[in-house]
């Protein structure tokens, strides 16, 4: 197996430290100033001041949700990029997020509340993925697909078509929406963590991230071999079909959970794995945890900026992930 580059553990530790730092900063920064000592006191269990309420009821769930959303999307993106052996793959390109958004907006148009919208978006993500499976089943899950070099292109093209179809429906919905709905819709399409104030939901998302990462890491060696070619991996003892099925499921659940929590935060699933790959290479044992940490960090930073830079106006977090991620990506690409 490819050995880890010597600097990998260092970079992973640095990413983990940066993610922790980002989370702490997210607790300190906001429209109400929160001195570090008071925040620590609030975390230690003292719900003694209005500030403690702000930190515990608003900032903490939101920061944890932001980290979970970023980590889940980046994990899904990294898995899809490896499975399809294509750097362009991510939940958005494949239409999974688009399907979730269509379902959520349909629920909104039908007058549903927040909880129903979240349920609809989760169902939308899974339904889109099921559709993708049916359309591209031959390419993904038959043993004969092992020697079809172009099969992954077929999946990607199918996903791009699904995404384009979802985008058309979303545009239609936006055109037909009332002014009152429009603002919610736009915010939701670009990604919005303002509603993520339920600590339990954030913790569930974090648990899903940990679980998904654990499953993906167990399959990372097999994924490394599959990257070198499915035929070779199969002859070396990798159960290619089972590995692929498990990883697709992890990516689907991760995307569904992220979109349900924060709407369509774009770009993270694409750029976080790329950023880590540029620094650490494409060994999945390092890339998968690295991408999850980087994605979480990116969304935490972007969301903290989204709710503070133009305060009291809250910016869509999806805009900021792109505004921060694109320059960082181009800078690293030039250096690589």
């Amino acid at each position: 197996m490819p050995s880890r580059a010597p600097r990998s553990p260092v970079v992973l530790l640095a990413l983990a430290a940066a993610a922790a730092g980002g989370l702490v900063a997210a607790l300190l920064v906001g429209s109400v100033d929160a001195p570090a000592a008071d925040v620590l006191g609030a975390l230690a269990g003292g719900r003694t001041s209005p500030l403690a309420t702000v930190v515990l009821d608003l900032r903490l769930p939101r920061a944890l949700a932001a980290f979970a959303v970023g980590g889940l999307l980046a994990l899904a993106g990294a898995i899809l990029q490896a499975l399809l052996r294509n750097p362009l793959a991510d939940p958005y390109v494949l239409g999974i997020s688009g399907g979730a958004a269509v379902a959520a907006l349909a629920a909104l148009a039908a007058g549903a509340g927040v909880a129903a919208m979240q349920a609809a978006s989760a169902a939308g993500a899974l339904a889109t993925l099921a559709l993708l499976f049916v359309l591209a089943r031959r390419a993904l899950f038959t043993r004969d697909a092992l020697h079809g070099e172009s099969s992954t292109t077929g999946v990607l093209l199918t996903g791009v078509m699904v995404a384009a179809f979802a985008a058309a429906i979303l545009s239609l919905a936006l055109t037909l929406a009332t002014d009152a709905q429009l603002r919610t819709m736009v915010f939701w399409l670009l990604g919005d963590l303002a509603g993520a104030t339920d600590l339990r939901l954030a913790l569930v998302a974090l648990a899903l991230l940990a679980l998904g990462l654990a499953v993906a890491l167990r399959l990372a060696r097999a994924l490394n071999l599959m990257l070198r070619g499915d035929v070779l991996a199969f002859t070396q003892g990798v159960d290619v079909e089972r590995t692929r099925r498990a990883l697709v499921l992890v990516a689907a659940i991760a995307t569904g959970a992220a979109v349900t929590l924060a709407g369509a935060v774009g770009f993270v699933g694409f750029v976080a794995p790329h950023l880590v790959r540029l620094v650490l290479g494409n060994d999945q044992r390092v890339l998968l945890p690295g991408a999850a940490l980087a994605g979480g960090l990116l969304v935490v930073v972007a969301d903290t900026a989204a709710r503070t830079v133009a305060s009291p106006v809250q910016l869509p977090v999806g805009v900021l992930t792109a505004l921060i991620g694109v320059p960082a990506f181009l800078w690293l690409l030039r250096r690589a």
Binding site: M1, S3, L232
Partner: protein, 252 residues
């Protein structure tokens, strides 16, 4: 004692075209087979079927007496290795680490792995490439690393798709000689060079690509008139120093 690998009425089709029809032959342990046939005759597809990657359209492949489809994937990995000429190098990896991918099934608890990998690299003249990134290797060098990878898998059966296609003359001879020295292995290799096949193989399988085939000891199959018919071009043979040398008469 059952054959190392055997085909029973094996049929392989691409669309309506049946390029392998009712192919039946047995490969005994320790034998070295050359698979010859014109471009598009289905040599690669046959090797994939023998490896259990591609399903038979009719008939079956038997590995050690059992239908290959009934083998578990990890058990198969201990019995046969495959060298394709379509390697993909998706990330920086040294030649040694690339060869070590063959040890996947040992999952870290592999005391022998590195020794076998280094021996295989030495055998195929890749010792100096061990620390090189495989993405910087020439096609010929990369092909020898691919062969070393299959050998390090330590399987009794090794299937090779055109193992000398990218080798210079010295390495053509070296690769075939080192393969032939693996006395405990059964080898099946597709190749185009008739003289290389004659030097390497104990047996040969001729595939016409239109369903016809002929399998048997090299002395019965590697014959000028059969090869001329197979490749639809005039191939003649001269005797030199007690060896048969084939040449394409239309080329001279």
């Amino acid at each position: 004692m059952s054959a190392a690998i055997a085909c029973r009425d094996l049929c392989l089709r691409a669309g309506a075209r049946e390029f392998v029809s009712r192919l039946s032959f047995e490969v005994g342990a320790g034998e070295r087979w050359a698979v010859l046939g014109p471009n598009g005759a289905g040599k690669t597809t046959l090797l994939l079927a023998l490896a259990g990657v591609r399903r038979a359209d009719a008939g079956r492949v038997e590995l050690a007496g059992r239908a290959i489809g009934e083998w578990r994937i990890d058990a198969l990995a201990q019995r046969r290795a495959l060298v394709t000429d379509r390697w993909i190098d998706p990330f920086a990896s040294t030649a040694l680490d690339t060869v070590l991918t063959a040890r996947y099934r040992y999952d870290g608890a592999d005391a022998e792995g590195e020794r076998l990998a280094r021996e295989a690299l030495v055998a195929f003249d890749c010792a100096e490439l061990a620390a090189r990134d495989v993405r910087t290797l020439s096609r010929g060098e990369r092909q020898r690393v691919a062969i070393a990878t299959a050998i390090a898998q330590a399987t009794p059966l090794v299937l090779l798709d055109e193992p000398i296609a990218h080798q210079d003359p010295r390495h053509q001879a070296l690769v075939l000689a080192r393969l032939a020295q693996l006395a405990d292995r059964t080898l099946i290799a597709s190749m185009h060079d008739v003289n290389a096949a004659a030097a390497f193989a104990t047996h040969a399988l001729l595939l016409s690509g239109r369903g016809a085939w002929r399998a048997g000891p090299a002395c019965e199959t590697l014959r000028a008139e059969l090869l001329s018919e197979l490749f639809a071009t005039r191939i003649e043979v001269v005797r030199l120093d007690g060896r048969s040398l084939f040449y394409v008469a239309d080329m001279h």
